[in-house]
């Protein structure tokens, strides 16, 4: 079939080799991992790049990787209120090469209010990372300065409250306040922390529920912090009173504190099948929090060091169970919200 000439073939060869060379070389210098490095641990993040969970893990893996002596590759699987990423971990081989950073109570919500196939006992727990309390924010020009005043205002005028997700801690906090004081709030899901932040800054909503670290303490001067869903004042956002201090103890979960845990999870069975690998991971993870470089780095991340809170495997599992319990207790609050709509 003579429609081929030598020059054409040469061009092809040169082109193919060149393209391969360029892309591989380019990849290496652009700061991507080494070639042919089979050894790595995949960290699944059930949220998009750039979100709170993603930032928290990416600030952690460099140190953890040094201590563990292996590369960590973060993979984002956003969607389904963390169920998409959750099923990735659930279906992964429990051999220590796949772990995830997840959050409570989103984790439980995926099986309580969605059809996720897994439960608490389907995972092994390596440790917690930090606890970000639930906090209410308002645009600065409003006639209320704390949640108590907001409740009075909302009773008279009605109010819109933005939340970060339909079935997490912010929804629960908003619903509990609404129910406790019989307010008939108009609760609007702003689809994520940045949505709530923008809506508060733009004055589109009367109040927004978020976590202070996720909200970004750099905005402390631009908003009014109405209060945190905790018994005592938290450290990250000093101007925000605690619900407990405001005397709003009637709201459920104030005493226990309602917030968002971030934690490291492994597919269930790792601990039984490869106890050595589990131990090694758990120990090196614990050591991350002792590392000075890590501490400096999280300090630069909007004061993440203020809320960093490492707990070992047993305590972490306990937290997960407690969260599952209170989420079940208040499941009907959220279900009523969904199905009354």
């Amino acid at each position: 079939m003579g429609y081929e000439t030598t020059s054409r073939r040469d061009v092809l060869k040169v082109g193919a080799v060149g393209a391969a060379g360029i892309s591989i070389y380019g990849g290496e210098v652009l700061g991507v991992v080494d070639l042919f490095d089979e050894q790595h641990i995949t960290v699944i993040v059930p949220w998009a790049q750039g979100g709170g969970t993603d930032r928290a893990i990416r600030v952690t893996t460099p140190t953890w990787s040094d201590l563990q002596g292996i590369d960590f590759v973060v993979e984002n699987y956003p969607g389904g209120s963390t169920q998409v990423g959750g099923e990735q971990v659930y279906n992964a081989e429990p051999d220590g090469t796949t772990i995830a950073m997840w959050n409570l109570p989103q984790m439980q919500a995926t099986w309580l209010f969605q059809d996720a196939p897994y439960r608490t006992e389907d995972f092994d727990y390596i440790g917690t990372h930090h606890w970000d309390p639930t906090m209410w924010f308002a645009p600065p020009d409003r006639p209320y300065d704390d949640l108590e005043e907001f409740i009075e205002y909302a009773r008279e005028e009605g109010a819109t409250v933005g939340i970060t997700a339909a079935i997490g801690n912010t929804a629960l906090s908003a619903l509990l306040v609404d129910e406790t004081y019989d307010l008939d709030l108009s609760i609007v899901n702003m689809e994520g922390g940045s949505g709530v932040r923008q809506a508060v800054l733009a004055g589109d909503i009367d109040a927004g529920v978020n976590q202070p670290w996720a909200f970004d303490p750099d905005h402390a001067d631009d908003v009014t912090a109405l209060g945190s869903h905790t018994p005592d004042q938290q450290e990250l956002w000093p101007t925000a009173p605690a619900f407990g201090e405001l005397g709003l103890d009637e709201i459920p979960l104030v005493e226990e504190g309602l917030g968002q845990w971030k934690l490291i999870v492994a597919p269930g069975g790792l601990r039984d099948r490869y106890p050595d690998r589990f131990e090694e991971l758990a120990e090196s993870y614990a050591a991350v929090f002792e590392d000075d470089e890590f501490q400096t780095r999280i300090e630069e991340q909007g004061g993440l060091d203020e809320i960093a809170d490492y707990r070992g495997p047993e305590e972490t599992e306990q937290e997960v169970e407690e969260n599952a319990q209170f989420m079940e207790t208040y499941a009907d609050v959220i279900e009523n919200f969904i199905y009354d709509q």
Partner: protein
């Protein structure tokens, strides 16, 4: 006003990013890859960006986006190479380049024509980058006034203007757009996280990824069509030989025709900024204008190998890039397939496309815009010094292109989020794309629908809830909302009158 708009800190940060040697390398590589792939017959700028987006997943966002925006510019220029050499436009934006470019090649002036094309493309690209730098920031600060109802109305407006711009059937364009929007609602709903039409696929809880849709519609559809169309390559001889003096003649030809180049650039930048119209429309408008303004004697030579024709085509198609990026970066509304692909890459890398983009990621956006200046100088250099060599790519037989590109499309679609269901989605949209081409549905309508799906739904639902669930409060939320309503009505009326 100006200093509020031009946040100097962001520009400075953007410039700072550009001094990073890795970023410079990303520009050099991106532009080269763009030119190389653009020069392959049947390979458009959109396909280049779409296929390379999954490859950039591992890059950090800044280098990834700068790499892709550089590849965009390179590919628009590269598309002219096969147009001139083998009468096969590398992309719809280079169709007009064929008319005079190929005639000149037949007269033995291939190197001269390639040089003119490179110079004009580079200059037009620089002009367009300047336009973008001047107009994008004020538009973006204006866009910050867009609340949820305005975002919904903007999406509706963007979809209705396409049939007006493209002259396609109103019902077909709207059907394509509505179907795209409906595809965009697959997955959990934004208020209550209830799953919709996910075919029991967990990955679809997060919706259909629009990069996968783009790969299907723009890459697979195109290879499937290449499968029956082929190209003319086999009949042609390599005509890239020629002396350096021809390059010099090319420089002189451009320098002595400043008006022609400038006219093309303005037309390109303007047409590019319209939603739905890109390089494919701009080069026709520019060519027709050039012919209209020419003397009768010159006008009669258009189409028979006159360099003014090449200048008109290539000055306009490269200038569209800057114009098309204006609505893409400021409003999150892409005006063309290529910018839609770029928008997909922006979202993939964790930046929020939309009115808040300059606010939240100003440094990266400015670095992208400023990188265009370097990229277009590179196009000039690559083109003047090496278009003969890039030209060899135009002679790659199409049978070598089809298998490899099909594999790249499939693998790339999977790589976006490692979901098996995406393999079938990309195939499905590859086939839907053939129906679109065969029955004259505007591809950009469905793409825009899928891309705007989230914005439109969130805008509608949150807007509705926040405006107290009243239609009048929603529709007449602000002067901007009313303005958008008027524009939407206008574009519908224009389309109906045209038909």
């Amino acid at each position: 006003m100006i200093d509020v708009v031009f946040t100097p800190a962001s520009i400075e940060a953007g410039l700072g990013i550009l001094t990073d040697p890795y970023i410079l390398l990303a520009i050099v590589l991106g532009t080269a890859i763009g030119v190389v792939f653009g020069a392959i017959p049947g390979f458009s700028a959109t396909m280049t960006i779409v296929l390379f987006t999954p490859v950039t997943i591992a890059f950090e966002p800044t280098s990834a986006l700068i790499f892709l925006v550089s590849a965009y510019g390179g590919a628009v220029y590269g598309g002219s190479i096969p147009a001139i050499l083998i009468n096969t436009p590398g992309a719809p934006g280079s169709v007009v380049t064929c008319w005079d470019g190929y005639e000149l090649t037949k007269q033995g002036r291939a190197v001269y024509t390639l040089a003119v094309s490179a110079i004009v493309s580079g200059i037009a690209g620089l002009f367009a980058a300047a336009v973008l730098l001047v107009f994008a920031p004020p538009i973006s600060s204006f866009a910050l006034n867009f609340g949820p109802p305005e975002m919904f109305l903007l999406a509706v407006f963007a979809l209705t203007i396409i049939p007006a711009a493209k002259g396609s059937s109103l019902s077909k364009a709207l059907l394509a757009g509505a179907f795209g929007l409906l595809i965009g609602t697959i997955g959990n709903d934004p208020q209550l996280s209830q799953s919709r039409a996910t075919f029991d696929q967990t990955a679809l809880l997060d919706g259909v990824d629009f990069i996968v849709v783009l790969i299907g519609l723009f890459v697979l559809t195109e290879v499937f069509r290449l499968g029956y169309r082929g190209t003319v390559v086999t009949e042609d001889n390599d005509r890239t030989g020629g002396s350096l003096s021809e390059v010099y003649n090319g420089v002189r030809a451009v320098v002595s025709r400043p008006i022609e180049t400038i006219r093309g650039m303005f037309i390109g930048a303007f047409v590019g900024s319209l939603p739905g119209a890109g390089a494919d429309v701009a080069n026709f408008v520019s060519y027709n204008e050039a012919k209209r303004w020419a003397s009768d004697e010159l006008a009669s030579r258009f189409g028979n190998g006159t360099i003014e024709g090449v200048i008109a085509a290539d000055s306009s198609n490269n200038a569209t890039q800057g114009g098309a990026l204006i609505p893409t970066l400021t409003l999150g509304i892409p005006g063309s397939g290529a910018t839609a692909a770029l928008l997909g890459a922006i979202a993939l890398h964790g930046l929020n496309p939309g009115p808040g983009l300059f606010d939240s990621s100003g440094d990266i956006v400015y670095a992208m815009i400023l990188s265009l200046f370097i990229g277009n100088v590179l196009i000039l250099l690559y083109g003047v010094s090496g278009s003969q060599y890039f030209g060899k790519l135009a002679y790659i037989p199409v049978r070598y292109i089809i298998p490899a590109v099909t594999v790249l499309a499939i693998v790339g679609a999977f790589a976006v989020r490692n979901a098996t269901v995406d393999l079938y989605i990309v195939l499905l949209f590859g086939i839907v794309g053939i129906l679109f081409v065969a029955y004259d549905y505007p591809l950009v309508s469905i793409v825009l629908g899928v891309i705007l799906g989230d914005i439109a739904e969130s805008g509608f639902v949150t807007g509705w809830l926040l405006t107290g669930e009243s239609a009048t409060a929603f529709l007449f939320n602000s002067p901007i909302a009313i303005g958008l309503l008027v524009l939407t009505a206008l574009s519908l009326v224009i389309t109906v009158l045209k038909n």
